[in-house]
C-alpha cells in the first residue's frame, strides 16, 4: 500500500515537474532568440558542456569538472566535494524549472569555467543539451 502510494504520487508529481522544465526552457530560449540567438542545438551544447578551458591559474576547467561526465548522474563540487544533483530534468525533475536560478548559475559557472559570461547562443545550446538527457 505504502509503496503503491509512493509510486503513484511520484508519477503524478513528476509529470507536471518535467513539464515545468519544458516551460522554463522554452521561456529562456524565447528570451535568447529575442537577443538574436538561435536556432539551438543539443549537439553543440554537448560540445560546449565538455569543452575544456584553461583558467588563469593553469587549471583545465569544464562544466564536467563539477557536474561529472553524465548529466543523469550528479557530480561533486571540485573544491568542496559537496554533492551536486543530476542536471538532467528526467533524472531530477526539479532541474530547469526556475528561470532566475538558471540565469544565476549560468552567470556564476560560465565565469568560473570559461572566465567570461556565456552568450545567449551558448546558453540556449546548453539548455537544449541538458533537456535532451
Amino acid at each position: 500500500m505504502n509503496r503503491l502510494f509512493v509510486i503513484t504520487s511520484h508519477l503524478l508529481l513528476s509529470i507536471p515537474l518535467a513539464y515545468a522544465a519544458n516551460i522554463t526552457v522554452d521561456e529562456r530560449l524565447g528570451a535568447y532568440q529575442a537577443e538574436g540567438a538561435g536556432p539551438f542545438s543539443a549537439e553543440n551544447g554537448k560540445l560546449l558542456w565538455e569543452g575544456k578551458h584553461s583558467a588563469a591559474n593553469g587549471d583545465s576547467r569544464s562544466c564536467t569538472s563539477c557536474h561529472g561526465s553524465s548529466l543523469k548522474q550528479g557530480g561533486n563540487h571540485i573544491r568542496t566535494g559537496k554533492p551536486i544533483k543530476a542536471m538532467s530534468p528526467t533524472a531530477n525533475p526539479e532541474r530547469l524549472t526556475d528561470s532566475k536560478k538558471v540565469e544565476k548559475w549560468f552567470k556564476r559557472n560560465c565565469k568560473w569555467a570559461w572566465g567570461r559570461e556565456c552568450t545567449p547562443q551558448e546558453k540556449g545550446d546548453l539548455l537544449r543539451y541538458m533537456q535532451s538527457q
Partner: protein, 193 residues
Amino acid sequence: MKKYAWFLVFLPALFIGAGAVFGDNDHSGRTGADDDKGNGWWRESRLDVAPVRNEPYQSECGSCHFAYQPGLLPARSWQAMMGDLANHFGDNAELDETVQQQILDYLVDNAADRSRYKRSRRIDGSLHANDIPLRISDTLYFKRKHHEIPQRLVKGNRQVGSFSNCAACHRRAGSGSYNEHEVNIPGVGLWDD
C-alpha cells in the same frame, strides 16, 4: 553575608528551572525565524553556535559548501568576504544585490562578536581587534582545537580533504554542535582526546 552566599547558589538553579519549564512549551516549528533572538535561546545555548536559520543563506551559500554558521566568524570578516564574492576563494559566487544584502545582514547580525553562544565567544575572544580572518581555520581558537589532528587524517584523507569540511568529522555540525565527543573521522572512527 553567609545568607547572601546561599542565595547565590540558588539563583542559577531558579533560572535553569525556568528554562526547563518554558523550553518545553517551545516545540513549535521555527523554520521561518531568521535568527535566535527571543526564540528559546536557553535551550539552544547548549549548542556550540547558533544553527543556521536563514533560507537565502542556506540555499545560496550552502549549495556549494557547508553552510558555516555566522557565529563562527566576526562581523568584520563577513563584511570583507561578502564584499568580494566574484573572487570567493577562487570561485565566482556572485549574488544579485538584494539577496547579497539579505545574506550579509543575517551574517553580521549573528556573527561571533554578537553571539552569546559558547564557541562564538571563544572564537571572537581568540582574535585581535584588527584581525580579519576570512577562514574559520585561521582563527587562533580553531588552530588550538585542531593542532593535534595529523594532516594525513585531513588533507591526506579523501573523505575529508580539508579543514573546511566541518561536517565530514563533526557529524552534527549542521545543527550547530561541535562537541568533541561527536567527532568521527571517516576511515578512522571516533576521535576523543
